[in-house]
């Protein structure tokens, strides 16, 4: 019997039991939709995350820290806390000399402000980080508006993440933020209470995606200033200086009054005072830059090619520093998505398994109902093989139809999901849209799988039908 005739016969037989066929196909559709949507959702999200990470150069990024054993995520927000090996310009110079290092920057992170102000709006900076780096292309952002930090931003340019832009009421209108002044108010618990620093004022030059959290990015030099506080000792010294000066004046007055050995004393005291003053001056210079004492948070490195990242990592580790690669984070995220995909795919597979049981049930019913027909077919010359194939093709048609409708429905689901996700992405300030896509490969594979499952599920009933005794089958009432 020709395949086309088997196919036609299968279709006609299925059409005879419309309700049962529809329900069986419906079960397969559910399974096919589960597998297609879940796999597509996971693969699309995974590729979206990977491409987003690659856009900002995360795949070739390495973070150098003073403490070993930190992963990429932990290394990102390291501030100068004095723990581990000191990160400074010398380390930067050593790192820059390593093979395959394209660029590198010292990095500072901190939360030294309690509020920021744009126009007349003052918002809290709780859970908002401030990062500083040299704008040499090592650190990149997904920009929603404006531009990256650059040397031309005069050191007081500020990048603001999109969630903060939303808090300021510029959601969807981020461009309007560009060029606005922003001022930062220092936390009261930072630095000596009797020497509060004035607000820092900068200009917003760009709005970034908030995929790295709520963050304000500034030039490294400015960030160093943020973390530079007059040492209380300096104040004390200043006071001492002042007192000394007063004393000196008093002494002078006394000298003037007494005019006795005064000159010598005056000279001696002046020398002493000068000496004290000099000492204070030196101490103050050192204290002003606590970065010099504690070092920077980390060094961010951009490696020329992804394949050279491991080499750079090991070289940095050999220097005695901790090093974490962005690609490890991407890989771990990919692995997580693969696991999620496997779990979701497994759930879909269970749905397909249940559908397969439905196919077995339908085909067993069909063999019972059509026992006499099987007898007739055998009498007019159908081989066991022909009967077997007929039922298998019929089950395959069930599977294929279920898969086809499942895939079509999945495309519908993808459109719906994208509409929801597009809104979420827009809220996060991410410009990518329609990230859930069902690839033709997945669609074809799902249809192939459902067809195979149908045929496999139909095998047992098909064998049962083929092995019927034709004489008994013809007698069947």
């Amino acid at each position: 019997m020709k395949f086309i005739d088997q196919f036609r016969t299968g279709l006609r037989n299925l059409a005879r039991q419309k309700l049962r066929t529809s329900l069986t196909i419906f079960a397969i559709v559910i399974g096919a939709v589960s597998v297609t949507v879940m796999l597509s959702l996971v693969t699309s999200t995974k590729s979206f995350l990977v491409s987003s990470s690659e856009k900002i150069g995360m795949d070739t990024q390495v973070i150098v820290t003073g403490t070993s054993g930190l992963n990429y995520r932990e290394s990102q927000w390291i501030g100068p806390d004095g723990s581990g090996k000191k990160i400074d310009a010398d380390v930067l110079a050593a790192v820059e000399k390593l093979n395959n290092v394209q660029s590198a920057t010292l990095y500072l992170a901190g939360s030294m402000f309690d509020s920021y102000k744009v126009d007349d709006q003052e918002l809290t900076m709780k859970n908002v980080g401030v990062e500083g780096y040299t704008p040499n292309g090592t650190i990149k952002h997904i920009l929603i508006a404006g531009s990256e930090l650059s040397d031309s931003s005069n050191g007081s340019g500020v990048l603001i993440s999109s969630d903060l832009a939303s808090d300021l009421g510029f959601k969807g209108n981020e461009t309007a933020l560009i060029g606005k002044d922003v001022s930062f108010h220092y936390r009261k618990d930072m630095g000596p209470p009797d020497a509060p620093k004035a607000d820092e004022v900068g200009k917003i030059i760009g709005v970034t995606s908030s995929d790295r959290g709520s963050v304000l990015s500034v030039d490294l030099d400015w960030a160093v200033e943020f973390q530079t506080w007059p040492n209380p000792q300096n104040n004390q010294n200043n006071q001492n200086n002042q007192n000394n000066q007063n004393n000196q004046n008093n002494q002078n007055n006394q000298n003037n009054q007494n005019n006795q050995n005064g000159q010598n004393n005056q000279n001696g005291q002046n020398n002493q005072n000068n000496q004290n003053g000099q000492n204070n001056q030196n101490e103050q210079t050192q204290d002003q830059s606590q970065i010099d004492r504690m070092g920077y948070g980390s060094i961010w490195v951009s490696v020329d090619q992804k394949k050279n990242v491991d080499g750079v990592l090991s070289e940095i580790k050999q220097l005695g520093f901790g090093a974490a690669a962005g690609k490890e984070e991407i890989d771990s995220q990919s692995t997580a998505f693969t696991i999620i995909g496997a779990i979701l795919g497994g759930i879909g597979a269970i749905a397909l398994l249940v559908a397969a049981i439905g196919v077995v049930n339908t085909m067993v019913m069909a063999t019972l109902e059509r026992t006499r027909e099987i007898g007739i077919m055998r009498a007019i010359g159908a081989t066991k093989k022909t009967i077997r194939r007929l039922f298998r093709v019929e089950a395959g048609v069930l599977g294929f139809t279920g898969g086809l409708f499942g895939v079509i429905l999945s495309y519908g689901f993808a459109i719906g999901l994208n509409q929801i996700l597009n809104k979420q992405l827009a809220d996060s300030g991410i410009t990518d849209r329609d990230i859930v896509s069902i690839s033709p490969q997945i669609a074809l594979i799902v249809m192939l799988i459902t067809t195979m499952i149908g045929m496999l599920a139909g095998s047992l009933p098909a064998r049962r039908a083929a092995n019927m005794d034709p004489v008994e089958a013809l007698r069947y009432e």
Binding site: E373, I376, M377, R378, A379, G381, A382, V471
Partner: protein, 228 residues
């Protein structure tokens, strides 16, 4: 050499734990163009003999050769091809597919055999229907036909592959005498055209029209001389 040669056929069925001898050392020869009536009471083994000759069943012992084909030892594919190409079955209950049209029923053996294209099969089916006088009922469903017409459709189906042998198992059993007579006339006409005909029947008047009557009782043949 005879067209059908049966020798020492034995076939036993187990019914309710009890063994029933359907064929008990049956030997029989049938020549080309014979019109054989196989008679006997219910359960005597006449249908089993017809099924063995028709390749629907195989004996437990003995040999059955039809047109040089050893049916007793043939595998499924040989038996199936034999049933498709050399045999036409006509059953008491017509055994037509109710959901198919008359023409589709008639061309089913051609479809099963994968003969030619659909159009060619339809043409051959129409010719078979013309031979039984039902070409105007080609698009009817079996349920739209009378009993006699249905049996003629079954005959057309049996004819469509130009078989050498037609085995009709109680072909008039479900028909009134008038329509039964028409069916027998039709079968006799085919026999006259050279097709060997084996009819299994209870009806003495039908058996009387055969060239030879084989009576079976308890699985054994009691052969009578031909009536004509």
């Amino acid at each position: 050499m005879s067209f059908v040669q049966c020798s020492g056929l034995k076939k036993t069925y187990s019914v309710g734990g009890e063994e029933v001898k359907a064929l008990d050392d049956v030997s029989l020869n049938i020549e080309h163009g014979d019109f054989i009536a196989i008679c006997g009471p219910s359960g005597s083994g006449k249908s089993t003999l017809a099924n063995v000759i028709g390749g629907l069943d195989q004996p437990d012992q003995g040999s059955v050769m039809v047109d040089g084909i050893d049916l007793a030892n043939a595998k499924d594919s040989i038996l199936s091809e034999y049933r498709n190409k050399k045999i036409g079955f006509v059953f008491q209950s017509f055994n037509l597919q109710a959901h198919e049209t008359t023409l589709e029923n008639v061309i089913a053996p051609l479809t099963v055999a994968g003969v030619g294209k659909k159009q060619e099969r339809r043409e051959r089916g129409m010719k078979a229907l013309e031979r039984v006088g039902l070409s105007d009922r080609a698009k009817h469903k079996p349920t739209q036909l009378s009993g006699g017409q249905r049996q003629r459709v079954a005959i057309a189906r049996a004819l469509v592959n130009d078989p050498q042998l037609i085995i009709a198992d109680e072909p008039t059993g479900n028909l009134d005498s008038s329509r039964g007579a028409d069916v027998i006339t039709e079968l006799k006409r085919l026999n006259a055209e050279g097709i060997t005909l084996i009819i299994i029947t209870h009806d003495a008047s039908v058996a009387a029209q055969a060239t030879r009557i084989i009576e079976i009782k308890d699985g054994k043949i009691v052969e009578r001389a031909g009536t004509k």
